[in-house]
Amino acid sequence: MSHTGIRTAAAAVTAVAVLASVAGCGSGGGSDGKSLRYWSMWTENEPQAEVLKSAIKDFTKDTGIKVDVQWQGRTVMEKLAPTLTTGKVPDLVDQSDDKMYPTLIASGRAKDLSGVFDRPATGEKGPLSSKLKMSYMDYLRELPDGGGKKWMVPYEVTSVNLWYDGADKSVKAPATWDDLLDTCAQLKKKDRACISADGDQPVYIGWWLDYLADRIGGDGVMKKAITDKSGKGWDDPAVKEAAEKVRELVDKGYLLKGFDASKYPEQQNRWAEGKAAFNLNGSWLPTETAKFAKKGFDVKAAPFPSAVPGKGGKRNATDVRLFGFAVPKQAKNAAAAEKFISYFMAKKRLDGIASKAGNITPRPDIEAPPVLKDVKEQLESTPSREQMPGSVTDYVDKVFYPAYKELFFGEATPDQFLAKIKKLHTAYAKARR
């Protein structure tokens, strides 16, 4: 072999070696029923991960099934997508229902978990479904081809509420929209802001319109507006009335200054400092703002004002978002994965999600952490609905936010807002046909 030949060979060998090391990154999983692969939405040092970790340890001890867990973080679905066409799909994943939808549900790649609901949780009597508040799942979208809604076993429930400081004597939970306006007017007289909002959070400010439209015209109003391709849903008078009410808050100066130029989470932190009375936010708010809370702050949650006189009376549904497990259809160890779900959903293990991770669980028999007591009561006594029903990130980016922020920032009248959102909606529908 000449020198050149040797060099050529060496180059080729190097190239092959590099390629081989690139290709060799993945690792296969067995299918002996003695192990399962779990990809989690949590990162390793989050409280939820700690709770899951200790459950996994006990699970392996009790059943002999090894759990190979990878803490993938919030992008777990993006990482899952490419594995769905290979044999290397994990056996168990978790995320919120809306994040799981495009990857697992829309194309029918999740397993129907009815069996888990029908069986008792490990060490308990009676089916799991009898231990959970099953109506939380009413808003979930169905698997295609009549697969039903039981593609997810939720272990954490979040909701959207009106938050305030129970220790603040001049603030009380508003029962009706007019109560809220009254409280705001009283505060305004004392030169205090009523509501804080981070204007750069499309969905957070969107909840005002969404909840109002629900209270005025029912859950179907926003769903039709968002999902009806023709855009006619935005013509519903309930949407216009809701928009007028949102604009009223802005025009009367009830919003804490800076709402239209803030960088999240500035304004919600100002709320915790007591600069504004109310913040419409998720049940994660107390945890997020804990270190900014002023001394003696008594975090309380009120339902979104539940009645608009003359319109819809006592509509009082609560926005809910579920976090839970799903099992991909091609999972090789689906049985082991289901076994783990049943194991984790037992009261004594799921309790960690409330007591250690500070969240509400779907089991009424597990006590909520103290700051979320109100929320749990509210969740269990009202129907559940999906926030901004039917919307996806792309729609919020391209249709809802560009139009709605002009209304919320006081730059557009309700009519101008509706005209713009209809125009953007039509363009969006056309580009997506």
Binding site: A15, P102, R432
Partner: protein, 318 residues
């Protein structure tokens, strides 16, 4: 380069130069051509050309990333035409390319002129170059601290008695702020390159011009600019390429990364592609995403070629 030359000679060299008459060195060089070039070529094909072709192929299909591809013809390109925000994103990219580019070059030349005769110019050059080393994300995050309603800038303004400061991070103001940030962070890099070229211009030319009564602008127009033109041309291409890739600054500047992206009015073409492909709760439309990528690639390629044409001059020998 030597290797390349040897390789070319093999194919299209003059016929008189037959193999037998090649020097031993040339023969060795010729033999080494493929062993040296092949690995890079393989990588280029595998990681650039292959994906590019795949991207073109995908742009003619509907594809969510894992189901079977479905032929869509020019549907994705039509969807882009129908999407008003694709135009906004492309327009933003071109705004950065042209307006920020012009500002950067005007400033870079102005600074070069000032620095040329300044004491301690190396130190000053290092200082203005420094922002280029720092990751653009840092400036994006910093902007939040500076321009929030309760941030440093407004605190300073209210201390000076300004009661109603501008809405810095209001969605109309974010993009101009982003462009201003880019001017500040990019200028130093081009000052460094242009200064290197200007330093090579013999001083006697400037002395001569001064004797002839030329002012600062005349000296710039008749000496500096023509004699550094080659470098400016290269800089212009570098700028074009880097401005198309602007991404992380916009991503963290406009909003908060963890929950939502920046407002759509600030998207550049790179962000449009990212948000459409990996935005979270939506079924990815990789066909449209690839079409957007290919479209912006073509537009930028055309722009670069036109720019090179327009800037072509005969080199000045000195």
């Amino acid at each position: 380069m030597a290797v390349l030359t040897a390789g070319r000679r093999e194919g299209g060299g003059p016929p008189a130069l037959s193999r037998n008459r090649e020097t031993p060195l040339a023969i060795k060089r010729r033999r080494l051509f493929w062993p040296f070039v092949a690995p890079s070529l393989a990588f280029l094909a595998l990681f650039y050309i292959g994906p590019l072709l795949f991207g073109i192929w995908t742009s003619f299909h509907r594809w969510d990333g894992f189901s079977a591809m479905e032929w869509n013809g020019l549907g994705s390109y039509r969807a882009l035409i129908d999407d008003p925000f694709f135009r906004t994103s492309m327009l933003n990219t071109f705004k950065i390319l042209v307006f920020v580019g012009l500002a950067v070059f005007v400033l870079a030349f102005a600074l070069t002129m000032v620095l040329r005769e300044m004491a301690g110019k190396k130190f000053v050059r290092a200082v203005i170059f420094f922002p280029h080393i720092v990751n653009a994300m840092v400036f994006g995050v910093l902007a939040g601290f500076l321009f929030n309603p309760g941030g440093l800038v407004n605190s300073a303004l209210s201390a000076m008695g300004v009661q109603d400061p501008p809405k810095w991070l209001g969605s109309d103001n974010i993009f101009p702020l982003i462009m201003a940030t880019m001017v500040c962070t990019s200028t130093g890099f081009y000052v460094a390159i242009i200064m290197a070229a200007v330093d090579n211009i013999p001083t006697y030319l400037y002395e001569d011009a001064e004797l002839a009564g030329a002012g600062a602008f005349r000296k710039f127009w008749h000496i500096t600019l023509p004699l550094s033109w080659d470098v400016v041309t290269v800089c212009a291409v570098l700028w074009t390429i880097s401005s198309v890739k602007v991404f992380e600054l916009v991503l963290v500047f406009g909003g908060t990364f963890t929950t939502n992206g920046p407002p759509i009015e600030t998207w550049t073409s790179a962000l449009y592609i990212y948000r459409n492909a990996f935005a979270g709760s939506d079924i990815p439309q990789f066909g449209v995403v690839c079409a957007a990528g290919i479209t912006s690639l073509v537009l930028v390629a055309v722009f670069t070629v036109v720019l090179r044409r327009l800037m072509r001059r005969d080199p000045v020998e000195y």
